[in-house]
Amino acid sequence: MRKKKGQISIGFHWIYILIAGAIILIFFVGIALKQKDVSEQSISATVIQSLESIFTGAGLAEQTINYIEIPELEIAFTCDLEGYSDYSVGSVKTETPFQPIFALERVKDNVLVTWTLEWMMPFKVDNYMFVMTPDIRYYLIYDTSSRPLASEIEAALPTEISENINFESLDISEYFGIIDKNDYKVRFVFLSDTAFVSSIPLELQGMADRDVTAMVLSGTLNGGTISFYRKDGSGWMLTGSSPLIGSFTDDNPNFYGAVFSEGKEQYDCNLRKAFKRLKISSEIYLERALQLEPASIPDCHGIFFPDYFTNSQTGLIARAEQCSEKIEVQCDLKPNVGDQIFENNRLLGTAGCFDIY
């Protein structure tokens, strides 16, 4: 009887040790897992915080290139048709409600290259920032008619970009000879309708559909239409089209915005941010001109009062407001109101009057 009691006691003793051991083990495994999550979140937050400061600085000075070394984490850029935009690392994100940032939806490399260009309409509206990484390959595909455009783009790309980012200009005849270089993503830029090829090069057909995208330019670098495509098996699937908005700068930032955007959604969303700023800036320029006009010399009244400045500027405000909601063909304001404001400013300047901008 005594022996039996001892046996039961030893049995319970071990069960007790097992339970206690398991609880202690679960407790420490739980802490380790929680710590891992916290640590990942902390790294993401640090990266996001650093990116925020870098992007702020990079986005302010036009015509600048920044080469940023970062931990190799996937950064997701969102800019949707509702107008919401952010960039995120893991579950940590920061909203970008006003800054136009053009990038593919996801980038992953230990280097980020940013390039900033200003949009002039004809006065400075905003700086656009383009984000790219060395493991994305960009192919500029041209034919005889679009060869000059390819040369123009090659000349416009700053040396720091052509040295660090994979940009290749290819004649349409070389298209099917493209080989898979194990890039994270591949982006095709067809510089004319006639240079567009409806099938994917054989070597790239094995890549994931989301990793191969394209845009087709119909027009010039300062106006026309942009069509966005995504790989669909062995061919292309049209994802949307948008007008190419002009600029009063040699390098049209809206064209490069299309080059570095994933598709229509991101392109339109970022342009809408710029149009919002254009509307506010235009209102400020109009009110400024109306304040300065009465004090100006009589010769200026002749230039100002035929109202064409007032009309074009109010036209610009109304159109910019519409385009901050939706990007349409009419949003290319350069040929009409933009040129008119530019001419008015020139006339006022030559007459010794105040500058509009």
Binding site: T56, A295, F354
Partner: protein, 159 residues
């Protein structure tokens, strides 16, 4: 005798538990204090970075720049500044709050000496615990007189 021994053991267990909980409490207090000062440091660092970002944004606002192509940096047009001030604080407050957040931005004319000053944006945080003030020297352009003066753009960011 057996009961006394049992009582002693119970007392011993209680004493061990008491010491254990006291040590645990010390540990928790020490960890809490350490975390608190670490969070405070982080908050100060975040505010300092935020302050730099907002100061940069404020000093490069395209809405304020002086006329002329190419873009003139560090130059503020006084007329545009006055119009901007109204818009940023009324009609487009939400838009500019995203850019400038909780801050007070003022411009003071320093040379030639004058008493002119402008409040460009004033969105102070009611229960702000700290603030950082960043002065940025700027050139001020008066389009009515076509004269330049020297001023300072003061950006006070709250947290």
């Amino acid at each position: 005798m057996k009961s006394k021994k049992g009582q002693m053991r119970m007392m011993e267990t209680m004493a061990i538990l008491f010491v254990f909980f006291v040590l645990l409490l010390f540990g928790i207090i020490f960890y809490y204090q350490f975390q608190k000062s670490s969070i405070e440091d982080q908050r100060a660092q975040i505010l300092s970075e935020k302050s730099i970002d907002i100061s940069l944004r404020a000093s490069f606002l395209p809405e304020l720049i002086c006329p002329g192509v190419p873009t003139k940096k560090d130059c503020i047009d006084i007329t545009k500044m006055e119009i901007f001030s109204e818009k940023a604080q009324e009609e487009y407050l939400d838009y500019y709050y995203d850019i400038l957040q909780s801050a007070r931005i003022t411009v003071e004319e320093l040379y030639p000496p004058s008493s002119r000053s402008w409040v460009l944006y004033d969105q102070q945080k009611p229960n702000a615990t700290r603030s950082i003030n960043t002065p940025v020297p700027v050139s001020l352009f008066d389009p009515e007189t076509e004269e330049h003066s020297f001023g300072v753009l003061k950006i006070e960011v709250y947290s």
